[in-house]
């Protein structure tokens, strides 16, 4: 039935859209967009979802494709420069040809991607996050917490099968001193767009646990700058900064410091270094005990030496007072008939007898004359 209204067919409308698009954007052009999903298909083509966000809301969205004749080269170059594969959450600068199909709608065909832009965007985002945390006074907040002197009940946030977590446990278990630690794993996604939310969820599980943990350790075994870009996430940094327990990070990067490191109580480079940190705290305590043992032993030895010295002095004094020691030097001791020492000639008379004691014996004598001094 004919209508009284003029109308276009759907095909006519969409053909008009296509023609307008082709007239407006006849050439390839560079666009900036966030990658919201990526699917490399078995047929070799790679399908992308692109979007643009403003204040957390999506304000534009489009499908894009990299045909299989371009995808291997683009993917390889992107990985060579950034150390990462294309992944959701990345900011991209792409050269596209806008196309429109009456059946499939708008499609952007990608033939170039600028990987340096993605690296730069991540760095810009990192600096903005840092500046915001500084404005909010959150950069130093963790470092004002008090760590127990012997932190031994540890909550670890890691991917369960991560090599770094394995290294950490092995290093801790095989410490040469025999110190024991209680480690509980709170598994989380440690890479990519979902990592911040997953780590925040693990932090919440630790906080609501009935066990009181001395510290929380966030670790992974390294990765490329973009793999680790999740550790620059504002939401994650905000949660760490406001956390009630000291948070340690060992994110395993050599060159860069991530925002999570900067807001944490303490950051080291590797999980093994983190294990060493806790072992060293216990080793220092062990050494302190050894110093007590040495100090007490020394004090006891000094006391015994002082007592021995006192005995030596007494022995010397007694020995010095023994008359037999004087006789050995050539003196003689005169004794009366009762064995008492004679101290004056006045007590004796001619014909009296006395005994002269020498060191090696005695002489019995009789007095021929008494000659007092004046």
């Amino acid at each position: 039935m004919d209508s009284e209204h003029e109308y276009l067919t759907l095909r006519g409308l969409l053909s008009g859209v296509r023609e307008t698009l082709e007239e407006s954007f006849p050439e390839k052009l560079w666009i900036k967009a966030e990658l919201s999903s990526v699917q490399a298909r078995a047929n070799g083509h790679c399908y992308l979802e692109l979007c643009e966000q403003q204040d957390g809301s999506i304000v534009a969205k489009a499908r894009a494709v990299i045909w299989r004749n371009r995808y291997p080269a683009l993917a390889a170059y992107f990985y060579e420069v950034t150390g990462s594969n294309l992944a959701a959450g990345m900011q991209l600068l792409l050269r596209v040809q806008a196309g429109y199909s009456e059946i499939y709608g708008l499609t952007l065909t990608v033939d170039e991607i600028e990987p340096e832009f993605t690296l730069g965007a991540a760095e810009r985002q990192r600096r903005e996050t840092l500046a915001r945390l500084e404005r909010e006074g959150l950069l130093e907040k963790q470092r004002r917490l008090a760590l127990p002197p012997l932190p031994r009940v540890l909550a670890v946030i890691s991917a369960p099968d991560a090599a770094g977590y394995g290294d950490f446990c092995r290093h801790l278990d095989e410490n040469p001193y025999g110190f024991k630690f209680a480690v509980t794993l709170f598994a989380a996604v440690m890479q990519g767009e979902s990592a911040p939310e997953s780590i925040v969820d693990a932090l919440e599980r630790i906080e609501s646990s009935t066990v009181h943990y001395d510290a929380v350790l966030i670790m992974r075994g390294g990765g490329s700058s973009l793999d680790l870009a999740c550790f620059d996430d504002y939401g994650l940094a905000f949660t760490i900064a406001n956390y009630t327990l000291p948070v340690f990070t060992a994110i395993g990067h050599d060159r860069d410091t991530h925002v999570a490191d900067l807001v944490a109580f303490h950051a080291v480079k590797t999980p093994t270094a983190l294990a060493a940190l806790f072992i060293d705290a216990f080793a220092a305590e062990d050494e302190r005990l050894e110093q007590y043992a040495t100090r007490l032993k020394l004090a006891f030895t000094n006391k015994i030496s002082a007592l021995l010295s006192r005995l030596d002095v007494l022995e010397s004094r007694i020995a010095a007072a023994d008359p037999r020691n004087i006789l050995k030097r050539g003196y003689v001791l005169p004794l009366d008939g009762n064995g008492r020492t004679l101290k004056s000639v006045k007590a004796l008379r001619e014909g009296d007898s006395l005994t002269l004691m020498f060191a090696d014996g005695t002489l019995r004598c009789r007095i021929e004359a008494v000659e007092p001094k004046n």
Binding site: Y177, L289, Y292, R295, K303
Partner: protein, 56 residues
């Protein structure tokens, strides 16, 4: 080890004992008792550093 072993208190006691033993006025009999006590405390502290049973 005593179930209620308190590491911090044990260290405080060790410090007092060290000062007593270092004091020349402390007699040898007393010193002997202090040394026996300190030996026990140091062993307990070392055991504490190598055990998790008191913490969980």
């Amino acid at each position: 080890m005593d179930e209620k072993f308190n590491y911090t208190e044990a260290l405080k006691r060790l410090e007092i004992i060290a000062q007593k033993v270092e004091d020349p006025a402390t007699g040898i009999d007393e010193t002997d008792k202090y040394l026996a006590e300190s030996g026990k405390l140091i062993s307990e502290c070392r055991e504490y550093l190598r055990s998790v049973k008191d913490t969980l």
